[in-house]
Amino acid sequence: MREKLIYSLGVIAAVLLARDLYSIFMQLPDEASQGMIYRIIFFHVPAAITAMACSAVACVASILFLVTKNFKHDAIAVASTEVGLAFLAANLVTGSIWGRIIWGIWWTWDARLTSALVCWLLYAGYLMLRRAIEEPAARARISAVFNIFAFADVPIVIFSIKWWRTQHPQPVFWGGGSIDPAMYLTALLNLVALILLGVILTLIRLRQEEVQREIDSIRRYAHAV
């Protein structure tokens, strides 16, 4: 049943992506000031939004685990965080490429990039923490608490860095910018496609996590006997 869900979501995502890629490369004209490269925005921004959605899901899952002690929620928390981390990395990489093409520099301490980097470090810490705890119940509990702290920190990080940057300006990637209505649809559809991709990856990772737990318990049985 889950396989069917994954496949059908995958088909939808693939169709959307195909349509978008066609639209992005074939139909839309080059942007006035930036030329070809602006197209990266169609992936850069949705990646960030998807990452944020993943972190919200992870936080809810962590709270649910602490309340119900059901390991299913722990699996969702780790799967969602890993997928979110991947999307955030994509956001950082696309941002860096964009900066290199437009400004000639690989990195700038622009508010959004800096926030993304700090959030990436926060959640990378979550994965490192999990690695360091072997016992599954303790691992789930401790990392759930950490996840809640990390999620609480995210808005504070974003706001504080944004405010810092208004006081200490750096080259900004795009001036907030309004998107031409012609591009709006494509951007939105790409967002949907990426979110679907996120869901698919999370489901796959979930399955892997469950299998891993089964293997762990079989191993413990084997040791006990």
Binding site: L122, M128, A138, F149, F159, S160, W163, Q167
Partner: protein, 226 residues
């Protein structure tokens, strides 16, 4: 009232134990002096630039040196299984947390108050122009540092590689608090009083302190017992 009594028993115990051996506080002081010296090689202390960013440097020193004290917080309960005795005792998780946090706060603040004049001398910085405002920032910033350091000390108490893990987790989380403290300190040292543009940083620091103190009070019991 029980809460304050329980909290105070824990604070006294931690302070007494630490002041008897002085291991963490000595290491922390030494570390802070070393960093101050090292920074003088990286940034020329006579440059006007350095003076203007010295408030930022100050908080890097405080954060790194402070972590030495904060990591010990729950780690000191591990030998002899003392943590079991604390968990079994009829005190609330919130009181245990606040007791340790308060002891840590006092210890880290002591290190900072010693480091501050040294910093002033090394970098030829006059930090006394807005003394009480600076003390307020010191208190608020140190509390943020303490809260996160203490709760993460509890989180990592039973983990192998505890000494490596805790700092790795703590620093990213502290960035907003450190940023606020740095900005406020830089302004105060440069002679600008609190207020106006600075307000936002002060509010951010207070919000950070309140949110994470609340979260820690609620979650400590969960972290230690489940």
């Amino acid at each position: 009232m029980d809460f304050f009594r329980e909290m105070w028993v824990i604070t006294r115990k931690d302070l007494r134990a630490e002041l008897r051996t002085k291991e963490a506080i000595n290491a922390s002081l030494a570390f802070s002096l070393v960093i101050l010296v090292l920074f003088s090689f990286a940034f020329d202390p006579t440059e006007k630039e350095t003076v203007s960013m010295s408030g930022g440097l100050l908080w890097i020193v405080f954060a790194f040196a402070g972590t030495l004290v904060l990591n010990r917080s729950f780690a000191r309960e591990v030998p002899n299984d003392c943590l079991d005795a604390l968990v079994a005792a009829p005190i609330s998780g919130a009181a245990l947390f606040m007791g340790k946090a308060l002891a840590n706060f006092l210890l880290v603040l002591a290190v900072e108050l010693v480091s501050l004049p040294v910093f002033g001398i090394f970098y030829n910085v006059h930090w006394t122009s807005h003394f009480w405002s600076l003390m307020l920032v010191l208190a608020l910033g140190t509390w943020g540092l303490t809260v996160i350091g203490t709760i993460f000390s509890a989180l990592t108490v039973n983990i192998r590689l505890r000494e490596l893990m805790a700092p790795l987790l703590v620093y990213p989380m502290l960035i907003p608090a450190l940023m606020s403290a740095m900005q406020l300190s830089m302004d105060l040292i440069a002679g600008k009083p609190l207020g106006g543009e600075n307000q936002i940083w002060l509010r951010l620091l207070v919000a950070f302190d309140v949110i994470f103190t609340a979260l820690s009070l609620v979650l400590l019991e969960t972290v230690l017992v489940g």
